[in-house]
Symmetry: C2
Subunit: 411 residues, 2 copies
């Protein structure tokens, strides 16, 4: 029989979110009358903006005409979208990114799972702990780890603890790695790296030859003016970093699917002979060989968020979710939990009460308040003792969740 | 510096189709007045059907309402689409496929590139020659080959020659492999495997424990009644095969992006200890970890092709392209070229005249007739001496291409 990829067998049970869905489904089957409030998966809930819908309708109509029909688009994304991104996401912040350094895709989950393919199996990987599970799982699948320990950590991967002591943001380690994943604003903790912190990471990467895989999927939620939105705001980052961006959380595209990767042309790795190799050309080969472009009407919708109306709609929904985050923060805080994040990020990271385990607290929250959170331990060993609540919910649901927690739970 | 994946350096220059685009772009720059006819990339040209557009408009409108908004969908695809596929693509042909054996994706290019990930790097791979380049390139990138020979073949991969003598369809080899890619109706040669041929492959796979990766992206173009549309029409195939299907060529979705993979639950591989492992569960883990579902409006559009009106629209466009294929066949034949395919497939495979190399013939066709084909050699060593012409073009363009070849070229 065909030999399978044994590295898959090292993986823990299920991918975190399907596991949560499974538990919720089970609970629902047993409690069909429970009105469940979902603040687990970070999934937007507000209706899609008018600009995006108008642009998508126009694109669909266009495809219905002989002159307007388009088949395969450029694998890297349409120029109209890449140019709009370069202009509005980067030039507007004083960062020069060329449109051909932007690779449009169908989602940051895919991008952050696929990026490791262009690096050696021997590459040493560092990840924050807690962390978005895709970074780790994709590397385990590719064989960059040993087996899984009892605490859910994989041998061979360097975990960078993010604790209350360091503000839930990792510092550069004392050893060299090849690849390091950073996420700011952070999923799951909601913390944001300052300019100085990112500068320390860029200096580290330049010093030891590491490549920073910088996930900025939540940058639109930054409210404080002095915080960096892109790692490319840091001088010298173009030689050491790749950045992930997404329309999912910024513009409600979780069901539409559109994201992009920024790969600067200066970025290089080395081959087995020690020759420098352009990472841009490697990724370009990967992207054009294994991907066929994002859906055209979706790209048209994505570009529409940069119109005046589009920008206003996007900002209104971000403001809405951030106001939710404030309610969650204040609510949990008034219940005696310690809370973090939620100011420059759509996630609130809260301690569980009295050292209750985070899966236990997840279950209690579901059973007593009928509220779905995400257990911190699902993001890594250092997430034990925490729960992530997502601000991506309807306002009345957020308010109701806090009321239920106050009334039905002993916290 | 970070170590790259050295296997990428084994790859030939560019992926085939970007290479063709590059040559065409160069020619256009030098001949801005040339009216180029594109029959190279197999890309649909007819406007998107009314049913699909209506369904997509409805879905976009739905996303604009509080009640109708949907964020992340199930990674495997919406039940409404998977059920429609099971019913109309399989049950209607007497094949029982459960909806949860169907994994909806954003394209067959991705599926056929990604499927190898769940198998061991040591797995021995067989491919037809000529072949869709993605099968080979994705395995080379993963390290399942040695270096590339001068004829473009990679050491370690078993090539199954498809020649005029065997009707351009490979027979099972005399040795065991782990994975074998088959494509019927075939891209690039346009040939179709009979029931007996597929039965021989299923017997081979059952006998030596191989898994058949069956690409049926063009099944909708089969016109002869006795030819199989799915490998699952062959008894015993559920234990040895995975099937790729796509909405791209069937319903004009190349720019919309929707496809699916069928992974039967009976299918197993073995791990290093010799234990049987479910391929369905491995792919399920891969799919849910690295992919976030296809775009919702696109899935809604895909499901609409199974309505009465949708079916009629799909059939009308297939008939149109097949009529093109007939014109190409007859035209090239009248010019003295030998032609194959184009009866149950949208591709015509033609000999180049007088032993001209296929890239040379590609260039002559472009320069003299301003027609873009695809050089057979781009699909593999055995494609040398052939050219693929795609029937995915406007009727007047197809007719004009034949006229130009007759008038401007000495064939």
């Amino acid at each position: 029989m065909a030999r399978i990829n044994d590295h898959y067998l090292k993986l823990g049970a299920g991918y975190l979110f399907p596991e949560i869905s499974q538990r919720v489904r089970l609970f629902e089957e047993q409690h069909s009358d429970a009105k469940i409030i979902r603040m687990g998966i970070g999934d937007v809930v507000l209706p899609l903006g008018q600009s995006v819908r108008d642009a998508m309708h126009r694109a669909v109509d266009e495809l219905g005409t002989a002159e307007g029909f388009r088949g395969y688009g450029p694998e890297q994304g349409y120029a109209f979208l890449r140019e709009a991104i370069a202009e509005h996401e980067f030039r507007a912040c004083g960062v020069e990114i060329s449109p051909d350094e932007i690779f449009v895709s169908d989602g940051s989950k895919c991008d952050s799972a696929n990026i490791q393919e262009i690096f050696a199996v021997q590459a040493r990987v560092a990840v924050p702990d807690p962390v978005y599970p895709v970074y780790v799982d994709s590397n385990v699948m590719a064989g960059r780890s040993g087996p899984r320990d009892d605490d859910g950590r994989y041998q061979g991967i360097l975990y960078l603890p993010c604790t209350e002591a360091n503000g839930f943001l990792p510092q550069p380690p004392g050893e060299a790695v090849d690849l390091v994943y950073l996420c700011s604003p952070n999923n799951p903790t909601g913390s944001v790296a300052t300019h100085d912190m990112l500068a320390a990471w860029v200096a580290y990467a330049r010093n030891c030859g590491a490549i920073i895989l910088f996930d900025a999927a939540y940058e639109a939620y930054i409210t404080q003016e002095d915080l960096p939105h892109s790692i490319f705001e840091i001088p010298g980052a173009r030689e050491v970093a790749i950045e992930f961006r997404s329309f999912s959380k910024k513009a409600g595209f979780t069901g539409l699917r559109c994201a992009y990767l920024v790969v600067p042309k200066e970025l290089e790795g080395i081959d087995a002979q020690g020759n420098a190799v352009s990472i841009h050309s490697l990724w370009s080969r990967r992207h054009s060989t294994k991907f066929n472009g994002a859906s055209y009407p979706v790209q048209a919708g994505a570009a529409s968020i940069y119109s005046e109306q589009g920008r206003a709609e996007v900002q209104a929904s971000i403001d809405y979710y951030l106001a939710n985050a404030k309610i969650i923060r204040e609510g949990l805080s008034s219940l005696g939990l310690r809370v973090f994040g939620g100011v420059n990020a759509p996630y609130v990271w809260a301690t569980t009460p009295d050292g209750v385990g985070s899966w236990d607290f997840f279950d209690r929250l579901l059973e007593q308040a009928h509220v779905v959170g995400t257990p911190g331990a699902g993001f890594g060993a250092q997430g034990e003792g925490y729960l992530r609540l997502s601000a991506f919910a309807q306002r009345d649901q957020v308010e109701e969740a806090i009321v239920r927690m106050r009334e039905r739970m002993r916290l």
